[in-house]
């Protein structure tokens, strides 16, 4: 067994970090890691998985973290370190299971629009906080963005300004009437309690003012969540179609209104850069597994780690973990302090977030493959967990823009491209 784990030490200067990490690590080691090999068969029923999620987001209270203290939350959205704090969590949770991490992320992500300074919508916080304040049951939020014709175009606000969004919101008196079809949101397939829905108030328009971000409680008439999809990995993350048929919500369920919804939605995209910590968390566990594996298994009569050629491969893996973690937490620091580094919704910060996520996801994927290669026939065993991490990681490369949107948004900013 591994004696000293260099990746369990703190990576930021915050004195709080070790405590937060310890809480999550204990949960991960006791609740998730012993059971995670069962998750692949539990993807549809979600019984074992949901128990684990509840013990994290409800019992440990994370589902209320973003809300301001006045509404019973932890005030994280008001702090100067929401991204760094989230980074610790994401890393520790992904070390155990990246799919559960998606569930956790989605407790935060759709709520960013109304809970994070400088844009705290107190009326909506007062409306929705009570839902998340319980520590008995998990409450699931979802961000409904992707549509059948494509996810990237909707994320690509700076180029398309919502032109391709087909889900419509029509104001009828003091209610929005929503119609449309979304695909893939995490925490759906029957789970979602509250959704942040990206809609258009004027189909085909490429004016930011027409992009609307509207909260839709899932119990309302006209909201249907489909059956969960079967995927290559991320069994703990439930995704499905969602249909909205003449769903009515109060007009003030729109987050901010014309122009500002689009602006803060960009910020939501930039915060997607925290997917870096999902990757590094996974790789921290791959390291732990490799440590044991390469001490036990031999090649040509020597423990793998004492075989110079394998040692060289192992060094590539730890080098990537070291550098990617440094990168990931530097990005978190940038996202934490718009006063120092620029607004999170600015093209510059979006470009940085995309570039970091692209680099870290690619490197970690590559290194996870390398780990499997080193392990030979055992690399494909569920028993060693690396193959699970490999399947989970792949989607981090593919979602949030897909690699090409990340490439384009980075190039667009750093090279002042005019036509991309």
């Amino acid at each position: 067994m591994i004696k000293r784990n260099p990746f369990s030490k703190k990576i930021t200067s915050s004195p709080v970090e070790p405590y937060v990490r310890k809480i999550v690590r204990d949960w991960a080691d006791n609740v998730v890691i012993p059971k995670r090999r069962l998750y692949d068969e539990d993807w549809a029923e979600h019984v074992i998985i949901e128990r684990a999620i509840t013990s994290l987001i409800a019992e440990k209270g994370f589902q209320k973290a973003l809300f301001p203290a006045e509404f019973g939350g932890w005030n994280l959205g008001q702090s100067d370190y929401p991204a760094t704090f989230a980074g610790w969590l994401l890393e520790e949770v992904s070390r155990a299971d990246a799919g559960i991490c998606m569930s956790l992320v989605l407790c935060f992500w759709p709520l960013v629009m109304i809970t994070v300074k400088p844009h705290v919508n107190r009326r909506l916080c007062a409306e929705f906080a009570p839902l998340f304040l319980t520590d008995k049951e998990s409450r699931f939020a979802a961000l409904a963005m992707t549509e059948p014709q494509g996810g990237c175009d909707i994320e690509n606000v700076d180029l398309l300004h919502g032109k391709t969004i087909k889900t419509t919101a029509v104001l009828d008196g003091d209610e929005w009437v929503i119609n449309g079809h979304k695909l893939w949101p995490s925490n759906t397939g029957g789970l979602a309690d509250l959704m942040g829905v990206v809609c258009t108030t004027n189909p085909g328009s490429d004016n930011d003012d027409d992009i609307a971000y509207i909260y839709v409680p899932s119990h309302l008439d006209g909201v249907t969540q489909g059956k969960p999809y079967e995927k290559a990995g991320m069994a703990a993350d439930k995704n499905s179609d969602i249909w909205f048929e003449d769903v009515r919500v109060p007009s003030w369920y729109r987050a901010w209104g014309p122009g500002l919804d689009a602006l803060y939605f960009r910020e939501v995209m930039a915060l997607g850069g925290l997917a870096c910590q999902v990757c590094t968390g996974v790789m921290m566990n791959v390291y732990e597994i490799l440590y044991d594996f390469c001490s036990e298994k031999t090649l040509n009569g020597r423990p793998l780690k004492e075989h110079d050629a394998i040692a060289a491969e192992l060094s590539e893996i730890v080098a990537a973990i070291e550098v990617c973690r440094a990168t990931a937490f530097r990005l978190a620091a940038i996202l934490d302090r718009p006063d120092r580094y620029g607004q999170r919704w600015s093209p510059e910060i979006i470009a940085k977030a995309r570039a970091n996520k692209m680099f870290v996801a690619d490197r970690c994927m590559e290194e996870c493959e390398r780990a499997m290669n080193i392990m030979g026939t055992y690399g494909a065993d569920r028993e060693w967990d690396v193959e699970k991490h490999w399947r989970d990681l792949k989607i981090v490369q593919l979602f949030e823009g897909g690699k090409q949107l990340c490439q384009m948004e980075s190039a667009r900013h750093f090279f002042d491209c005019a036509t991309l």
Binding site: D153, G301, G379, A380, L398
Partner: protein, 417 residues
């Protein structure tokens, strides 16, 4: 989505291969396997997914009805009599087609054919064992599934066995009276450890190596729990312990390192072909996607230069891999044409080509998944299955480092690797 229908254009024909190395009869065989792939597997994918019974049924059609598992056995012992090693190019075409359909089925079939080819080519192996094996391959109505237990990684807590090309032999044979005792502790088979009817085991002897063929129901054969693996679902694997399994003389052949090397070369050739076929099927799927997917609200995915570059890489990887694997087949059939000998030369060439082909096909599939966004990740589109299958096959082949050590030994005379 279009999956489930067979493509009207045979995407195979887009990727060149040296047709002059295949005669009409070989192409006929490939054509039968192509039809099997399209009709029995690809057309029924959505219905059966990774259903094991269906996989075994289709394997039986391939092996018994089409007769692929009889192909290389001499006519006088019940086979079709396709001569070795010339059949290598024919086999490549057949396994490409199987790989298009289901790399898992291809993999277990390949393990069987690689074993057959190695036995047939090994002059030191007696006629009795060959006949016994021929019966298993040619006479049965069902598929006799062989599981191979070959050298690989060792375990620090286990007794160390002989080393073959840097890999650790997983079993040992001891002569006792007028027979043999075979032992192994939690050996990791190459394929089908959980449900094979026979095992082929390369074991260390006090001096040299032996190859043992044993029935799965023999006393002392203990299969571990079914392993859950990333891919190759048709190959049900488990660790296997052999506790003092008693064997008669005719179940054991004396072999040397060249047996392992030949078997590896055949296995690499066939799995490389499966990888190429698998990547060709992914090409078909991603092409279908790119032909219809609109991005930036107007243009087709395939017409965007950034995406076109990625799509091009998918095709380039396949073009290169296919040419390489056909060249390996030819080199195995006619080493002189390539200016090399058999044996070690082929072992090294097969390692080099197999690592490259598996890497490139994996790269092609990774990039195709990237193009397809979440569809690439969903089981519905089937690309992710090829991705899981190929990765599993790649690691089952032992990864890159052991091959690099072989190459260094061969090209630089490096020692003690």
């Amino acid at each position: 989505m279009k999956e489930g229908q067979s493509d009207t254009i045979n995407s195979n024909s887009y990727f060149p291969y040296p047709k002059e190395w295949l005669d009409a009869e070989s192409e006929d065989i490939a054509e039968s396997v192509r039809k099997w792939a399209d009709n029995e597997v690809i057309a029924k994918r959505l219905q059966f997914r990774e259903d094991l019974e269906h996989q075994m049924r289709t394997l039986a059609i391939l092996a018994v009805d089409i007769g692929l598992h009889r192909l290389i056995w001499p006519e006088e012992i019940g086979g079709v009599g396709f001569p070795l090693p010339d059949a290598s190019s024919t086999l490549v075409r057949a396994y490409e087609e199987i790989g298009r359909a289901d790399p898992g089925i291809g993999y277990i079939s390949a393990a069987n054919i690689a074993l057959a080819a190695t036995l047939l080519e090994d002059q030191g192996i007696g006629g009795e064992m060959k006949k016994k094996m021929a019966a298993a391959f040619c006479d049965s109505e069902d598929v006799e599934l062989f599981s191979l237990i070959l050298p690989g990684l060792g375990d620090i807590n286990a007794k160390s066995h002989r080393i073959v090309s840097g890999r650790e032999v997983q079993a040992e044979l001891q002569n006792e009276g007028n027979g043999w005792i075979l032992r192994a502790e939690r050996a990791r088979p190459f394929n089908s450890g959980y449900n094979a009817s026979m095992y082929g085991v390369l074991a260390s002897l006090p001096e040299g190596l032996g190859f043992a063929v044993i029935e799965a129901d023999k006393k002392g054969v203990e299969r571990g729990e079914l392993l859950k693996t990333t891919g190759l679902s048709a190959s049900l694997n488990s660790d296997v312990s052999l506790r003092d399994v008693r064997l008669s003389d005719d179940a054991v052949a004396f072999v040397d390192e060249s047996f392992y090397k030949r078997l590896s070369a055949w296995m690499r050739l066939l799995t490389g072909s499966i990888a190429v076929g698998s990547a060709i099927d992914v090409y078909r799927l991603v092409k279908d996607w790119a032909d219809n997917r609109v991005i930036k609200g107007k243009g087709l995915l395939r017409d965007n230069p950034m995406d076109a570059a990625v799509l091009a890489q998918v095709a380039m990887d396949i073009v290169n891999s296919r040419l390489l694997i056909h060249n390996l087949a030819r080199a195995m059939a006619k080493p002189g044409v390539f200016g090399i000998g058999g044996g070690d030369d082929i072992f090294i060439l097969s390692g080099v080509i197999s690592v490259r082909v598996l890497d490139d096909c994996m790269h092609a599939i990774n990039r195709a998944m990237e193009m397809m966004g979440s569809a690439g990740y969903s089981k519905e589109w089937h690309v992710e299955k090829h991705w899981r299958d190929l990765k599993t096959m790649q690691v089952y082949l032992g990864g890159r480092t052991p091959v690099e050590m072989d190459v260094a030994r061969y090209y630089y005379g490096s020692d003690v690797l």
